[in-house]
């Protein structure tokens, strides 16, 4: 029985006088260690295995082009100077659509967070419109905003608008009520309370909303460039797909992924700048 086991253990320590043993350590665990080298290693390993599989013929060329082929397509893109044309077109749509969508989203989110009337009137509308896939509305956007840049920017704008609204009003709701009461007790004006207490207090939620909306913007970029786009990374990917030029397709997808990483990194920097006061 357990009783005997305990006795055995007690008898086990070496030497006659060594009745004292160290308390066994059982803490730790569940805690993450920073392992910065792991993620690049995982990336490199996967790409190497992929390349190896393609070279040995284990992965057929038709199923998946080798990373080196995709890289060649990318180099080609740089050499012909098309990369910058595509990037320029895409970045323009992304930046304009995302900026406008975010600005409007923060504004409407603040309205919903601050005014009961706006909350009662707009919140159901937001809830009803948010789940609509904006891609489905693309034909409408083309009719409304034209086949040029308008419809493409509008798709991204609408896609980023709703998650920003929801993140912002959630953030406003979560601002510590005691801080607002403090502001009132010192006689701060309504505008001061909004500007100096509510807005900074909602900032963490707004910035994490930006993380989501920027990814949505990249997803929608490809959709927006489906129709009537000559240049753009999305157009390039779609064109490659239509021609079954899988090496170009992979190159384009890698570009989108890199774009996402860069935007994520930028938002991380913004968080560190704006939220340095957090523990």
């Amino acid at each position: 029985m357990s009783h005997e086991v305990v006795q055995e253990r007690a008898a086990a320590p070496v030497g006659a006088e060594a009745a004292a043993t160290q308390v066994p350590f059982r803490g730790g665990g569940f805690r993450h260690r920073p392992l910065g080298l792991v993620s690049p290693l995982v990336f490199i390993t996967i790409i190497l295995l992929w390349e190896l599989g393609s070279r040995t013929g284990f992965i057929s060329d038709i199923a998946l082009p080798a990373p080196s082929q995709a890289l060649a397509a990318l180099v080609d893109l740089v050499k012909t100077g098309m990369l910058w044309k595509h990037l320029e077109a895409s970045l323009f749509r992304l930046v304009v659509g995302w900026t406008l969508g975010s600005l409007l989203g923060v504004a409407v989110g603040l309205f919903i967070g601050l005014f009961s009337l706006a909350r009662a009137g707009l919140l159901p509308l937001v809830s009803a419109l948010f789940p609509i896939p904006k891609i489905a509305l693309l034909p409408l956007f083309i009719i409304w905003f034209g086949i040029g840049e308008g419809s493409k920017v509008a798709t991204i704008l609408f896609g980023t608008f709703f998650p920003t609204v929801i993140a912002t009003y959630g953030g406003v709701d979560n601002v510590d009520r005691n801080l607002i009461r403090m502001g009132q007790s010192f006689g701060l004006s309504w505008l001061s309370i909004v500007r100096k207490i509510i807005l900074p207090g909602a900032m963490p939620a707004i910035l994490s909303g930006f993380r989501i909306s920027s990814s949505i913007a990249i997803v929608l970029l490809v959709a927006a460039e489906m129709i009537g786009a000559e240049y753009g990374i999305g157009a390039y990917v779609l064109m490659a797909g239509a021609l079954f030029a899988t090496d170009q397709l992979i190159a384009g997808v890698a570009l989108l992924s890199a774009l996402g990483l860069i935007i994520g990194w930028l938002i991380g920097r913004a968080e560190r700048y704006f939220l340095s006061w957090r523990t």
């Binding site: 801080l179 007790s185 701060l188 900074p200």
Partner: protein, 256 residues
């Protein structure tokens, strides 16, 4: 400036929290309000500062606040209520900005109040870097910067450990000895009440009524050396409250 509470009563839903409370607070006087938990003492303080409105009765101000007072009724909160994204000086300047005090004028006021609360070396620190006692000092500095006529203190030391509490109590006594501010001080800690109060208002359990008003006729500065006398006084108040505190403890809360 004198504050008079005239038969204040209040309900939250169907629960009566305060019943017919009347008392007054004169210049340079510290009135402590004690009572078992849930007797509505914090609510009462919110009425005095105009953050909430009582159902019946009124809070009256007699006389004018000093001309240089920017915010005559100024709170100090239990949870400090500092903006975590502003530094120590930023938190003080927050309450000056709305009065159009900026630049050199603001800097002079901030220097002054930080010196009075022994915070001069911490002006660029963020709240998260400060201990609880330091945070409450910042809140006191912020309150002093608007030159209050009356300080409304809602359990200001309750979130602090007992040693810090002791230190801050000494600081408050020093401050009062120098500035003779008047204050309404809500606490559940009787030791604080007998150390800081000129008068102690003992509230009964819900609905809060005034059970007794205890006058302590001993200069604040002397109290730290006459703790034995205070101890008897404290025990007397505790005897008044004991049964009700027990009953309050056994209660299932239905008020938010």
């Amino acid at each position: 400036m004198k504050i008079t509470l005239d038969s204040i009563s209040h309900h939250y839903g169907s629960t009566e929290v305060l019943n017919d409370i009347s008392f007054s607070l004169s210049d340079g006087e510290i009135v402590c309000i004690v009572g078992p938990s849930g007797c509505g003492k914090s609510t009462l303080l919110r009425f005095i500062g105009g953050l909430e409105r009582p159902d019946r009765g009124q809070v009256l101000l007699a006389g004018r606040p000093p001309a240089d007072s920017l915010n005559p009724l100024t709170y100090i909160f239990q949870d400090f209520a500092l903006l975590p994204w502003r530094t120590v000086e930023g938190n003080v300047s927050l309450v000056l900005e709305d009065h159009g005090i900026r630049g050199d004028k603001a800097r002079a006021i901030i220097d002054d109040v930080l010196a009075r609360t022994k915070l001069s070396d911490f002006r660029t620190a963020l709240p998260r870097q400060l201990s609880g006692g330091m945070k409450q000092r910042v809140a006191i500095a912020r309150a002093l910067s608007v030159k209050p006529a009356v300080m409304l203190m809602d359990e200001p030391l309750s979130a602090l450990d007992s040693q810090t509490r002791e230190l801050l109590m000494d600081d408050l006594v020093d401050l009062w000895t120098r500035e003779r501010f008047s204050a309404c001080y809500v606490t559940h800690n009787l030791a604080e009440a007998v150390r800081l109060g000129h008068r102690i208002i003992v509230l009964s359990r819900r609905p809060g009524r005034i059970r007794e008003i205890v006058e302590i006729d001993m200069p604040l500065a002397e109290r730290v050396d006459r703790l034995a006398e205070l101890e008897t006084m404290q025990r007397r108040i505790w005897e008044l409250m004991r049964e009700e505190a027990r009953a309050a403890d056994m209660e299932i809360s239905d008020v938010a």
